[in-house]
Symmetry: C2
Amino acid sequence: MTRNGDTDGTLHATNAHLRGRGGSAPWIDRFAGLSRLPDDIKKTLTDSSQVVSVPAGTVVFGPGHIPDNLLLLLEGSVRVSQTSEQGREIVLYRVEAGQSCVLTTACLLAHEAYAAEGIAETDVKAVAIPRATFDDLVSRAPLFRDFVFTAYSRRITDLFRVVDEVAFGRIDMRLAERLLTLSRDGDEVKATHQQLATELGTAREVISRQLQEFQRRGWIEQERGRILLHDRKHLTALRDSL
Amino acid sequence: MTRNGDTDGTLHATNAHLRGRGGSAPWIDRFAGLSRLPDDIKKTLTDSSQVVSVPAGTVVFGPGHIPDNLLLLLEGSVRVSQTSEQGREIVLYRVEAGQSCVLTTACLLAHEAYAAEGIAETDVKAVAIPRATFDDLVSRAPLFRDFVFTAYSRRITDLFRVVDEVAFGRIDMRLAERLLTLSRDGDEVKATHQQLATELGTAREVISRQLQEFQRRGWIEQERGRILLHDRKHLTALRDSL
DNA sequence: CGCGGGATGGTGACAATGTCACCGACCACG
DNA sequence: CGTGGTCGGTGACATTGTCACCATCCCGCG
């Protein structure tokens, strides 16, 4: 189940170089919903939050690991996935730079055990807002409130999409979609068949067969732990086919 | 796709008999998270909300039908489901009496088109809180805020469960579970095979075969549009089997 | 260097579920 | 009574998931 070498999950505070550079913190402007906050709110936000660095592989939140901060991602991405009782896993969504990890909030506020866990996929730099500050800001700043609710809304929309795809989607279309998404940079996807299976909540064998079919058609080329996309056009067409 | 006779979805205000009965409205105490609100907050809540009645079949929210109230259900239930592009449908969860329909809030605040829609399954009586009041209360009352976030959290948990079941669950276990849930009162489930298929996001034929198997084992008895549970013990055992 | 041992991927047989086409029984309504 | 629409049953087939097993590759270690 490819659980890569976890650190202990501790957040390392490295706020020194990004805080108190005169005026409001520069990171605020990286969040669309926050840049128009009134200055005093920005100050509260800046003063009582910390910029933290999290190494790749860290469990940001999960069963038995309840965080006490709201995280706003500055760099990197957090993969949120769920593991069934039988040990099978599916990726629900990713939190990217510029987004907030509101599920930690829900976790926080609901005192409920979530089945989902969030893992830093890359080294992550994020702003950590303590619960008290979060509460204060939600109360005082309507714009901050909007920011939070919008973030929630986005996640719920994501979950709707996942339900729809898992319940009604065809595996070849879903795989094509995921390959295209994961190869954002070049035409390369660095992932094992097992990892792709986890992305889609299916079995490795299914992925292997689909990839072979794609290769047979000349759309991709496979290496160990690596896939090269040779024909994004056809993959895109498949993804978008009814 | 069994869309039963919709009214036009208008909310009929029938607040007269449940409002202003001296002191705070009696309905507040039906909501665990609200009963301990300070009196002035309760007053705001009571004064600026309406008790509405919604006939069964009404589309409470959905694509192209964005509500401007947060609904707190007093009686009845709202079924929230999603329809795929190809017209297949799956039930995501239900909002029951004593719960709030927070998705309308997300809808409200996110200005985003949700794929999901909520339909009154029975005649529904609910408290409608206008957006402005909602905003005001979230800002002023920490307990109200908790109430809202807890409600969100519950829905997200529900969605996690749905994803898990759809992705990894076996259809016979899911069907047994649903039959037991839907027969809360007696040992009867009033539903067609098609409706049960929609509950689980699968095809009617699959349900028909499973029900036949259940019947063959003597666990249930079938009539047109109606299923009698004769052996809850075995159904429960199946539901809970690994 | 050679030798495990784990990770990765390939394969065939089979099971479970979904899709399609079609049919007959039932029911509401004129 | 008809008759049209809903409901449920059925067989053939496609897709996806499960299981068992194997070959190859990679990497660390004696």
